[in-house]
């Protein structure tokens, strides 16, 4: 039987992609949406031909089994706790929370209420990334020695640059995806982070440049560029890359390289059109299958929080000028 899900808030633009994935999936029914921005919620309900609920409470009072939580970062806890109290399983957008206390509470309450809590890390579902994991696990490049990662993008604007709503700029936004991939790939935990952070792209009160150096328990050192360093004129939203150096070779992955280039005189713009697999679809499907079959989620709240911790450590390192030990005190 198809899984009935709801979406709580469309503040994060990924909500649209998840909604689209849900309505295209024969195993999922998008039963309703709610949003504290009434106009936005109604518009999305119309677009995805589902019910608009005037309040989160009204949505949660229905017979949905699970929700996708996609508000501003600072509201992740509030909406996740509401859903858990109502006995609904939760897939929460990344970063799981803007601080460790929020994240811990989310994990504890979901556990206490017996609902699943999944962190939305779609990059784990990338076929290229799956292939990387398979190759590494199969010993294709020997032992991993170092990884160079990037998650560079365009400055998203909106609440992402209002620190009380986001908890931080580029570093909290773009650190968590690749840190999660590194943890997953190596089955090892980050033990130290050093970061150089600045605001020299946009010269505002939020960080837009971050270059992190993260070492792991297994001795592997990595760097991660989490900057909003793609200009407005860039032909694509950004990238997720990992270049892995091993004792017996290298693996170079550019997750969104499956594109063709369009040069259009209509808007005097060059764009890269992505034609690779839809990882948001695969993510939402994975969550729905865990709910339908009552299986543990593949990416937990703890996974989400571990990644957040690296971003928070990076801010601490930039403030203090020294490498910061992980986990944080």
């Amino acid at each position: 039987m198809a899984v009935k899900i709801g979406i709580m808030s469309f503040a994060h633009m990924h909500a649209c992609s998840y909604a689209s994935a849900a309505v295209r999936n024969p195993n999922i029914i998008l039963a309703g949406v709610a949003d504290d921005d009434k106009e936005r919620g109604q518009k999305m309900a119309d677009m995805f031909e589902t019910t608009y609920y005037p309040s989160y409470e009204a949505l949660l009072a229905g017979d949905i089994e699970a929700v996708v939580v996609t508000p501003e970062n600072a509201k992740h806890k509030e909406l996740t706790l509401m859903a858990a109290e109502a006995g609904k399983h939760v897939m929460c957008e990344k970063p799981l929370a803007p601080n460790l206390a929020d994240g811990r509470e989310m994990i504890e309450v979901c556990r206490a209420k017996g609902v699943k809590l999944m962190t939305a890390f779609p990059c784990r579902f990338s076929p290229a990334m799956r292939r990387v994991k398979e190759a590494v696990d199969g010993g294709a490049i020997g032992e991993i020695l170092a990884i160079k990662g990037t998650n560079q993008g365009k400055m998203p604007g909106g609440w992402f640059i209002e620190l009380e709503k986001s908890g931080g700029g580029a570093v909290i936004d773009h650190t968590v995806h690749v840190v999660d991939l590194m943890r997953w790939l190596m089955k090892s935990e980050p033990k130290e982070v050093y970061a150089e952070i600045s605001n020299l792209m946009h010269h505002q009160d939020y960080d837009d440049v971050g270059v992190l150096t993260i070492t792991f328990d297994n001795g592997v050192f990595t760097t991660l560029d989490s900057s909003w360093s793609r200009p407005k004129s860039f032909p694509f939203w950004g990238n997720v890359t990992m270049e892995i150096t091993g004792t017996e070779g290298v693996i170079l992955m550019d997750m969104f390289a499956q594109t063709f280039t369009v040069y259009s005189d209509k808007n005097m713009q060059t764009t890269w059109n992505f034609w690779g697999s839809d990882i948001d679809y695969l993510l939402v499907n994975d969550f729905a299958m865990a709910v339908a079959n009552n299986l543990p989620v593949s990416i937990t709240g703890e996974d989400g929080l571990k990644a957040v911790e690296v971003a928070l450590g990076a801010y601490e390192s930039a403030r203090s000028g020294v490498p910061i030990k992980l986990p944080l005190e």
Partner: protein, 331 residues
């Protein structure tokens, strides 16, 4: 006409020597190498005399200029001996193995009143000169975050000197010093360096490093160096500023690929070899600049201080790799 004496007939000597052949105002008159055969082979190719003794070369070939292409730890010795003999000197990068070496070379060449240039050839590569011009023209606004990549497979040299850390300093001193100098040329002096690398791990013919530099002007640079990449020599640059982005890769900027279907015995398949031919060899441009400076008595565009400050960043990165802490430059 400047008479040039070449010290070292190894990999770089074989690059520098032929570069002079195209110049009207320079001529290689002597090639010295402790390996008699190597000296002779290159000297013959350049129509010069071969030597195994430096003093004998100075006395007999009577050069105006000495070009030092020996492994790093011996730069100091030949630079100082050349300066004391009143010869102008160009030396391959890195300028020295230590900062003290660099200081002694600067002192000796100053005292002798000779022109001295560390050969940071990247400044004479058209793509790197052109990127600098674009940055200066404001194409990307004020630069904020810069990324460079350089490397390929592990290099082979005399007595495996690249594999001897005490001699070469690994790729942090030998390879990505190119990028350190180019970054300094663009963004001024560095403030601090944080680095991770494999040079302390004794992994044999495998080295890799990731270096983060904070410049005094606020620019953050990330420099990757690899001697562990079998996909072929790779050079990448990305400069993100508040008004745009520069993106360069030598894997993309390929005007020519020659792939032969006729396969040699023993080879599994035909190999496609990418090429990026230029009318003017960057080493020629670099050495021509040096010779012109000697002729006109001018200070070269790459100063000895530039050479020393690039070494300083490399040594700071190595210190950071050892200590696990950020290292202040000039601290």
């Amino acid at each position: 006409m400047q008479r040039v004496a070449l010290v070292g007939a190894g990999h770089m000597g074989k690059v520098h020597g032929p570069a002079y052949a195209g110049m009207l105002n320079a001529k290689v008159v002597g090639v010295m190498d402790i390996r008699k055969d190597a000296a002779k082979e290159l000297a013959t190719a350049l129509d010069a005399e071969a030597y195994t003794d430096f003093d004998e070369m100075l006395e007999s070939a009577k050069p105006d200029v000495v070009d030092v292409c020996v492994p790093t730890p011996w730069h100091k010795e030949y630079v100082i001996r050349a300066a004391k003999a009143g010869k102008h000197v160009v030396t391959e990068k890195p300028m020295g193995r230590t900062l003290d070496d660099c200081r002694e070379m600067i002192e000796a060449t100053q005292r002798a009143g000779v022109i001295f240039m560390p050969a940071h050839v990247l400044r004479f590569f058209p793509e790197f000169a052109s990127m600098k011009a674009s940055i200066e023209n404001g194409a990307v606004g004020n630069p904020a975050v810069v990324r460079t990549t350089r490397g390929g497979s592990f290099p082979h040299g005399w007595e495996d000197w690249y594999g001897n850390f005490e001699w070469s300093g690994g790729l942090v001193l030998d390879l990505i010093i190119h990028d350190f100098d180019w970054l300094r040329w663009n963004f001024g002096d560095a403030e601090r360096v944080f680095a991770k690398g494999l040079c302390t791990r004794n992994l044999g013919h495998l080295d890799y490093a990731l270096v983060t530099i904070r410049f005094k002007n606020g620019v953050i640079a990330h420099v990757e160096g690899t001697w562990a990449n079998p996909t072929g020599f790779t050079v990448k640059v990305e400069v993100a500023g508040d008004d745009g982005l520069i993106d360069f890769s030598n894997k993309v900027a390929v005007p020519l690929i020659i792939a032969r279907s006729k396969v040699e015995v023993g080879q599994g398949q035909g190999v496609a070899i990418p090429e990026s031919p230029l009318a003017q060899n960057p080493y020629y441009a670099e050495l021509q600049h040096f010779i012109d400076c000697v002729e006109k008595g001018q200070r070269p565009a790459v100063t000895p201080e530039d050479g020393m400050k690039a070494v300083e960043i490399s040594l700071a990165a190595l210190e950071s790799i050892n200590t696990g802490q950020p290292v202040e430059i000039g601290g």
